[in-house]
């Protein structure tokens, strides 16, 4: 029996009111009222009494009421719109509802008993059919959601909405097929590009394997004298994907034999560590899921930044929430398990006011989401993921350019903390041993996220798989995060751990198998969300919220028992071996039998070539959106949880977005971690070397300004490039890496981790059906972390008192393009740090892409005190390395003595109530308008 329980509000429903306001702002002016019902569709034979009890469990009697099947007292409405999930899409509320029902009746729901949720929206007003379709379109995403619309009379005639049971039905025979590779090159290319052919002639989706890779696979199996199974090809495609192996960074390029990564990123870190000798503060770099530096004598701090661009283009909420959830797991999967202590974000979007449509197909049936929808969804996704996990999100940025219209860039990062010793073990070292059980912990496996790794290694086009879209479940993750990091880790119950990210089990297990030199998996043991998955799908599915652990026999019972007590599902799915092989069985039959050596190191090296493009000569235009307050984001992301906040994302009286923030991760230590980020994509086409140098300089400077020790700063690189098979784009890449190397080694700021995403291109069609390719500006994000020795010395943006003196530190040569002079900058940063340490600085701000004017406006608003400047020479200069500070006039002599010999000058005083630059005045109100109006209504 299928029953609908509908819960409605007895009091004014805020959600309905806000939805009405929102639709109103989208131009739907005819809506008079909206009311909302939360619908629970339950498929199980419950008695009437039991259904009533369930209704009570789901309802707050003070503010809500429920009805079983239909509502007798309907609101005024002209249309009813119901939105639910498509079959197989994660429905967290339904899962909680299931738990509530099971816990109450102390009885597990059986296979076939199901719960689904949906939202029923009653809309009242004179609204045409066309309008209601438009309204609905703005409310739901056809990739993950289903919708039904009924006019009032129809609704009444049918006594309500229809009962919809979005069950996943995979009606086919579960099997493994052999793939014939004795085929022409042309057919090999087809498999590599569009996937293995199904019996009906359709293809399974992109493998992102080019001909050279396919031929290597062909050769390997020729030597084995057999054809591969489909699951073996899928496995190789995952492990060899650009997303996992970073081939563009690994392969030789021009005359650089060791490739870009080894030469410029790892090479920089190695050079710095050697130089620093005993002062080296790196502990675990590039080898683990995150990078780690020393925090103090007892703890390490870790950091990792990921991107989740392609999924966010298709389902912004799901893409972003799984992005932040995924990088949280890179923290939990660091060493023996670090505790997430801060999230960071960065969004590159197109202008949200751009309403022209893009389509994936030439027939204009697959419309891409608008920039505004993407922005709203991504912001909400990080909100849900970060807030629900109890991890503060103190740092982030928004950046706008029209090149992000096809694919937004969604950066998600997480810092973690881990004691140097976990129980009896050194916490950053781990090794799966021969004989250890392979235990999968967390969520179950479904079709969600299949071909995610290979998909993100390709441009977005009409062939992009919808199953690559996933929704996160932060609470499932929070449960195992606590059980692992706060309990099992220090009991030393397991030998190794990693997260299931791109490529799912196929990547996590085979990656850990390197530690013991082999693995044996029994795929039928893997718990599934619903039956009917083929073995290859189970093996590569990227269903979220899962870790893989290696648990020694002696601890297995204790480990499984602990997980059970914490409400965490944990399942033994195989053993680590020392056979040198990755072997996967399904119902006792060997389906994958690959040499680990081939799986991990068999991919051929390509020789990449670059070509110098004609560099653009253009003036940098200031896009006001990029210098606007994004307070509406900062104050919906909890940055106070864990009680660690020191310098917050919004500072001063005017609540101004800061470029860096500080957290204090250990309650009884005054040490802090400063966090910042920098990017300058509009510079890449002009001068990629300068772009990279600028980013590093800014990421370092932002930290120094708030009080970090310049000798303890570490960096992360995220390259989000486009068209990376184009030699000219590769030339830009190489040049920017040179910049990274030169600046990082000069400042002694090592890279500790990084990630790249090389094909951020959109191939589709515009409203007229003409083909368009939109490529992102080649974007490098440098993320930085630095140790703050004493948080009480931290410096915020806001000027403190009238009468204080304003100084400009740094050079400002008369050039249009920004200039980076690391020699002088480094000296300034060192002296600044001394000055801050001596308490000489009352406020400080780094001058970034927006130049001096933007920095002055931020200072003005944050302090709500007038700034009087006697100099306007440097206003349009964009040079790097500059800082504005304000100081107590009593400290003038001390301050100036310290900076003697360096470029600095007093440019004004804190005075009056206006920003006055050589007589040109801006009052508070117009400054606020300039800074806060762009997103005031968001």
């Amino acid at each position: 029996m299928v029953v609908r329980i509908e819960v409605t509000s007895k009091v004014l429903d805020t959600r309905a009111r806000v939805l009405k306001e929102r639709l109103d702002s989208f131009g739907f002016k005819n809506i008079l009222d909206i009311s909302i019902a939360d619908v629970y569709t339950i498929e199980k034979d419950f008695s009437k009494k039991q259904l009533k009890e369930i209704g009570q469990l789901l309802t707050n009697p003070v503010s809500q009421k429920f009805n079983i099947n239909t509502d007798s007292a309907l609101p005024n409405f002209s249309w009813a719109v119901e939105i639910g999930f498509l079959p197989g899409v994660t429905d967290n509320v339904a899962n909680t509802t299931k738990e509530i029902i099971e816990d109450f009746f102390k009885d597990k729901l059986r296979d076939g008993d199901r719960v689904y949720t949906s939202r029923l929206i009653f809309i009242n007003g004179k609204i045409s059919k066309l309008e209601i379709i438009q309204i609905t379109e703005s409310l739901f995403n056809p990739l993950i959601q289903r919708v039904s619309i009924k006019k009032r009379d129809q609704f009444i005639k049918d006594s309500g909405m229809d009962q919809v049971v979005p069950e996943v039905k995979l009606n086919h025979e579960v099997k493994v097929c052999e793939v014939n590779l004795n085929i022409t090159d042309e057919d090999l290319i087809k498999i590599g590009k569009s996937g293995i052919e199904n019996e009906d002639g359709t293809r399974r989706g992109p493998l992102a394997l080019d001909l050279q890779y396919m031929k290597t696979i062909q050769g390997y199996f020729k030597k084995l004298k057999r054809n591969p199974k489909d699951i073996e090809i899928e496995s190789l495609a995952q492990t060899w994907s650009e997303h996992c192996k970073h081939t563009i960074f690994a392969d030789p390029i021009d005359d650089i034999k060791d490739g870009l990564y080894k030469t410029f990123i790892k090479g920089a870190t190695e050079k710095i560590r050697k130089k620093l000798g005993k002062k080296d503060f790196c502990v675990s770099v590039f080898t683990d899921n995150s990078g780690a530096i020393e925090f103090d004598k007892d703890f390490l701090i870790t950091h990792k930044v990921e991107t989740h661009n392609s999924p966010s283009a298709l389902d912004p909420f799901g893409g972003a929430i799984t992005g932040i959830g995924g990088v949280n797991r890179d923290t939990i999967g660091f060493g023996l398990g670090a505790k997430p202590v801060a999230n960071v974000y960065g969004f590159c979007f197109a202008d949200p006011s751009d309403t022209s449509s893009l389509f994936k197909d030439s027939k204009l049936t697959q419309k891409m989401l608008s920039p505004r929808r993407i922005l709203d969804g991504v912001i909400a996704g990080i909100n849900a993921g970060g807030n629900q996990s109890g991890i503060p999100t103190p740092q982030g940025f928004l950046y706008f350019d029209k090149s992000y219209k096809g694919k937004p860039l969604v950066f998600c990062g997480t810092l973690g903390i881990i004691p140097k010793k976990a129980g009896k073990r050194i916490s950053h070292l781990k090794k799966a041993e021969n004989g250890d059980y392979i235990v999968m912990v967390g969520g179950r496996v479904g079709l969600d996220g299949i071909h995610g790794a290979t998909f993100s290694s390709e441009a977005l086009s009409s062939g992009s798989p919808a199953s690559a879209v996933q929704i996160g479940d932060p609470i499932t993750q929070k449960k195992f995060s606590n059980a692992i990091v706060k309990e099992a880790r220090d009991l030393n119950l397991y030998n190794s751990i990693t997260d299931n990210g791109a490529g799912g089990l196929s990547c996590s297990v085979s990656e850990m198998a390197k530690e013991s030199n082999g693995c044996e998996v029994n795929l039928e043991k893997v718990p599934l969300k619903y039956p009917g998955l083929d073995p290859w799908q189970i093996w590569i599915s990227e269903s979220q919220e899962r870790m893989t652990l290696s648990v020694p026999k002696k601890n297995l019972e204790r480990f499984l028992d602990l997980m059970k007590k914490r409400g965490v599902e944990a399942t033994v799915i195989g053993k680590f071996t020392n056979s040198g092989k990755c072997q996967v069985r399904f119902k006792n039959k060997l389906k994958v039998d690959l040499d680990l050596e081939f799986l991990h190191n068999g991919l051929p090296k390509r020789n990449l070539k670059t070509k110098k493009p004609k560099l653009l000569k253009k003036k940098l235009v200031v896009n006001n959106l990029n210098y606007s307050s994004f307070e509406f984001v900062s104050n919906q992301y909890d940055h106070e949880v864990q009680g660690s906040s020191v310098l917050k994302p919004l500072q001063g009286r005017g609540r101004v977005n800061a470029d860096a923030s500080i957290i204090k991760p250990i309650f009884n230590s005054n040490k802090g971690v400063a966090i910042s980020q920098a990017l300058y994509p509009e510079l890449t086409d002009i001068n990629p070397y300068l772009m990279a140098s600028y980013c590093i300089d800014e990421a370092v400077r932002n930290l120094v300004v708030v009080g970090a020790n310049p000798q303890k700063i570490a960096l992360l690189d995220n390259f989000c490039w486009c068209s990376s098979n184009d030699p000219e784009r590769l030339w830009q890449l190489k040049e920017s890496l040179k910049g990274c190397f030169d600046l990082a080694t000069f400042y002694n700021t090592p890279f500790i981790s990084g990630k790249d995403s090389m094909f951020n291109d959109f191939n589709g069609f515009n409203e007229k059906g003409r083909p368009v390719k939109i490529s992102v500006l080649p974007t490098l994000l440098i993320s930085s972390i630095g140790i703050v020795e004493d948080i009480e010395k931290a410096v915020s943006i806001d000027p403190k008192f009238s009468g204080d003196l304003i100084y400009l530190l740094g050079e400002h040569p008369k050039e249009l393009l920004p200039k980076v002079n690391p020699k002088i900058n480094q000296r300034i940063y060192q002296i600044y740090h001394q000055a801050a340490d001596n308490g000489l600085i009352s406020s400080g701000i780094s001058i970034t892409r927006g130049g001096l004017k933007e920095a002055l406006i931020k200072m003005f608003l944050s302090g709500n005190l007038g700034l009087e400047l006697n100099d306007n020479n440097t206003l349009n200069n964009l040079s790097s390395g500059r800082i504005i500070v304000t100081i107590n006039p009593d400290l003038k002599i001390q301050f100036e003595k310290l900076f003697k010999g360096l470029p600095f000058k007093q440019i004004g005083t804190i005075q009056g109530d206006k920003l006055s630059i050589k007589g040109q005045e801006t009052n508070l109100k117009s400054a606020e308008k300039l800074y806060k109006d762009s997103f005031r209504s968001f």
Binding site: V11, D13, T14, R15, R17, V18, L57, L58, N60, P61, V62, S63, Q64, N92, V93, N95, T96, T97, I100, F104, K106, N383, N387, Q388, S389, G390, P474, I475, K478, K479, N482, K565, R566, G567, N635, Q636, D638, H639, E640, V641, Q642, G643, V646, K648, L650, G652, R653, G654, R655, F667, I791, E792, V795, S796, D798, K800, F801, S842, S843, N888
Partner: protein
């Protein structure tokens, strides 16, 4: 005198247990984080504690209404033990999600000593959005041991469903009984940052209430996040001010007093 023992609940998405434990420890208590399942299976016992703390978090992801699912679980498995606990001379606090939980469980406001009866609700904020900021709080005159010697203060909030709602009848009773202990108000923080004092549309600006005995306290703001001077949104300004006035820089924040009050109650 041995230190009073505090049980801080955890599990299913609660997430402020560590800072809440720290706050009680710093105040002189002995706090222990206990997973709800360890109470259900009997490996931990409620009666061994003097204070129960339901910390903030996102239990069950707020699904089916914030605090609802966790309250259901408590009601299904631990109600008799909790009922016995509150009838002893003991203290209970619920912060943020913990407040939502004990309101749904009916520990608050328990008018007429009807523990277990849901009488008030915490609804979606008026902006229908998760909101993080600092608020000023007025401490009302009342006899609750939780707020002894506590001046008006400020603390951060971080919630999506914090709008205090009750019928007129219930509101009247709450006022008569002096069960409203905290109200959002206009003081230092809101003046400085030009903020609306009431962050979520709570009726009568209510931020926290007690039961009739005053021993059970629930509040939306987070006192455990206002433990130190350097957690204030304007501490860098205050530091500079005190420095120039030749005054010492304080170490602690106002939140500590609430936890001290609980500890001192058992001295």
């Amino acid at each position: 005198m041995s230190k009073p023992k505090v049980l801080v609940f955890s599990g299913y998405g609660l997430n402020c247990e560590e800072e809440t434990k720290f706050a009680f420890d710093e105040a002189g208590g002995k706090a222990e984080i206990v997973h709800i399942n360890d109470l259900i299976d009997g490996s931990k016992k409620l009666e061994q504690f003097q204070v129960l703390a339901f910390p903030g978090g996102f239990s069950y992801g707020d699904d089916t209404g914030s605090g609802n699912a966790y309250a259901n679980k408590l009601r299904n498995h631990l109600w008799e033990k909790i009922d016995k606990f509150i009838k002893g001379d003991k203290l209970v606090i619920g912060i943020c999600n913990g407040f939502q939980i004990i309101v749904n469980l009916g520990l608050l406001p328990a008018l007429g000593k009807n523990y277990g009866d849901r009488q008030v609700a915490l609804l979606h904020n008026d902006n229908a959005r998760y909101t993080v900021r600092w608020v000023d709080l007025k401490v009302e005159e009342c006899s609750s041991p939780w707020v002894k010697n506590l001046p008006d203060f400020f603390a951060p909030i971080a919630h999506g469903e914090g709008k205090f709602y009750a019928s007129d009848k219930v509101l009247k009773k709450l006022n008569e009984n002096k069960q409203v202990v905290f109200r959002y108000t206009l003081r230092e923080i809101c003046e400085l940052q030009n903020l609306d004092p009431n962050p979520n549309g709570s009726l009568e600006d209510i931020a926290g209430i007690t039961d009739e005995s005053g021993k059970i306290l629930g509040l939306m703001p987070h006192p455990e996040r206002a433990m130190f001077f350097t957690q204030f949104p304007h501490w860098t300004y205050l530091k500079e001010k005190f420095k120039r006035e030749g005054k010492p820089i304080p170490k602690f924040g106002p939140g500590l007093q609430i936890f001290k009050n609980a500890v001192n109650y058992f001295k």
